[in-house]
Symmetry: C7
Subunit: 88 residues, 7 copies
C-alpha cells in the first residue's frame, strides 16, 4: 500500500523533535520556523520528479502540508511551493 | 443515471467514519484533517482523465468539495486542486 | 425572443423545490448546498459549446448565477466555473 | 460627437424602469439584480467587435458600468466581463 | 521639458469643473463619477500608442491617476485600464 | 562599490524636499503624492534597460521603493511598476 | 553537508548587526528596512543561476526569508522576488 501524491506535491516523513540534520539546526526563535523531513514519494508532475527524489532530505515551511498517519507514523503531503531547500 | 463532473473535478464517495484505508490513518489531531474516498467519476478534462481513474482511492482536504446524495449515499464533487494523493 | 449567454456562461432553468433528479438528492445539510437545473442556452464560447448542450441537466453551486425571469419563470445565467457536474 | 469605449468595454443605454424586454423580466427579488440595455458603441477590442454589435440588447450585472450622460440621457460604459447575455 | 509616461500610462490634462464636452455630461449623482480630459502624452507601450494619440479626449474613472502639476496646471498620470472611452 | 538592482527594479536618488523639476511640481494636496528622482542604476531585466537609463529623471508613487543609504545619501530601490513617468 | 535551495530561492548568510557594506548603510528609519547578506547557495532555477552567484552580496527586504542555523550560524532561505539588489 502506497500513498502517491498528486501533481506538484511530495509525501514527507518529518524529522524527530530534535530538528537537526548534521550541522543544520532549525532554531526555535525563527518567526515561522521551517521543519525538515525525508521524501517518501514524489508527486505525478514530471518536472518535480526531476527536481526531487525519494530519500531526499528537505526543509519546508512550518505550517506546510497536510498530516496523515502511515503505519502509525506521522507523514505530511506538502506542495512544491512549500519546499524551501534540499539538504545534500 | 450518472453524475459526470465538469472540467477538473471528480465525484468521490467518501470513506466511512473510521477513516482508515489499510495502514493509513488520518489523525483527528491534524489541523485541517484530510479525508479519504473512492473516485466514482472523473471530470471532462483530458489531462485529469490520465491522472485519475474510476475506483482510485484518494486523499483530499477536509473542507474540499460540494456534497450531493446519490441513491441515499453521501458523495462529494471535488476539484483536482483539492486531491492531495492517490492511495495505491 | 431568446437569451443568448455571453462567453463562458449558460442559461439554466432551475429545478423545483424538491431538488431531486432521479436518485440524486441535494441534502439540506450540505454547507454550501448545490442546486440542479436544465440548460436552456449555452454561451458563445466554442469550447463550452462542445462541453454542454441545451437540455443537459447540471448541478451548480447554490449561490451561483444571476436571476432573470423569462415568461414568468425563474432562470439563472451561470458561469462555467460554477457548473459542478452534468447529470446524464 | 461620439463616445468610443476603450478595449473590452461597451457603451450601453439602459432600459427604462419597467425592466422588461418582451417576455423577459428582471425580478426585484434577485439578490444582485441584473439590468438590460441597448449597445450604442462597442470597444476597440477586435474579438469583442465580433461578439457584440451596435443595437444588440444585453443583460448586465446591476452594479456594472460607469455612468455618463449623453444629450441628457443616462448611459453606462460596461466591461465585457459584466455583460451576462444578449437578448435576440 | 516633457513628462513621458512609462509603459501603459497616459498623461492627461483634466477638463475644468463644468465636466461637459459637447453634449456629454458626467452627472454628479454617479456612484463613482468618471471624469474627462485631454491626452498630453502617451506611454511607452507600443500597443497603447496605436490606440490613443496626443490630443484625444478621454473619459476615466474618478479616482484614477496620480496628480502632478506642470507649469501650474493640474495633470494626471493614468493607467490604460482606467481609461474608459475616447470622445471623438 | 555599486548597487545593482535585480530584475525589474531601479536604484533612484530622490529629489530634495522642494520637489520641483523645471516647471513640474508635485502638489502637497495630491492624495497619494508622487515623488521625483534620478536613476542611479537600472535592474538586470533587458526590457527595462531599453526603457530607462542611468541619469533619467523619473516620477514614482510616494510609498514606492525600499530605502537604503549610500555614502550618507538616501536612495530608493523601486520596482518598474511604481515608476509612473520619465521627465525629459 | 549542503543546503541546496529549491526553485527560485537563495541561501543567504545575513551581515552582522552593523548593517553596513562599504559605504552603503541601511538606515533604521526606513519603514520596511532592507537587510544585506552574502549568497551561500543559489536555487535550482536556471535563470536564477545566471543572475546570482555564490559569494554575491545582496540587499533583501527585512522580513524576507525563512531562518535556519548551519554550524551555529543564522542563515536565510530567500525567494528571488525578495532580493532587491546585488552589491558589487
Amino acid at each position: 500500500m502506497k500513498v502517491q501524491p498528486l501533481d506538484e506535491r511530495v509525501l514527507v516523513e518529518p524529522a524527530e523533535q530534535e530538528e537537526k540534520v548534521g550541522s543544520i539546526i532549525i532554531p526555535d526563535t525563527a518567526k515561522e520556523k521551517p521543519s525538515m523531513g525525508k521524501i517518501i514519494a514524489v508527486g505525478t508532475d514530471e518536472e518535480l520528479q526531476k527536481l526531487l527524489k525519494v530519500g531526499d532530505k528537505v526543509i519546508f515551511g512550518k505550517f506546510a502540508g497536510e498530516e496523515i498517519k502511515i503505519e502509525g507514523k506521522k507523514h505530511l503531503i506538502i506542495s512544491r511551493s512549500d519546499i524551501l531547500a534540499k539538504v545534500d
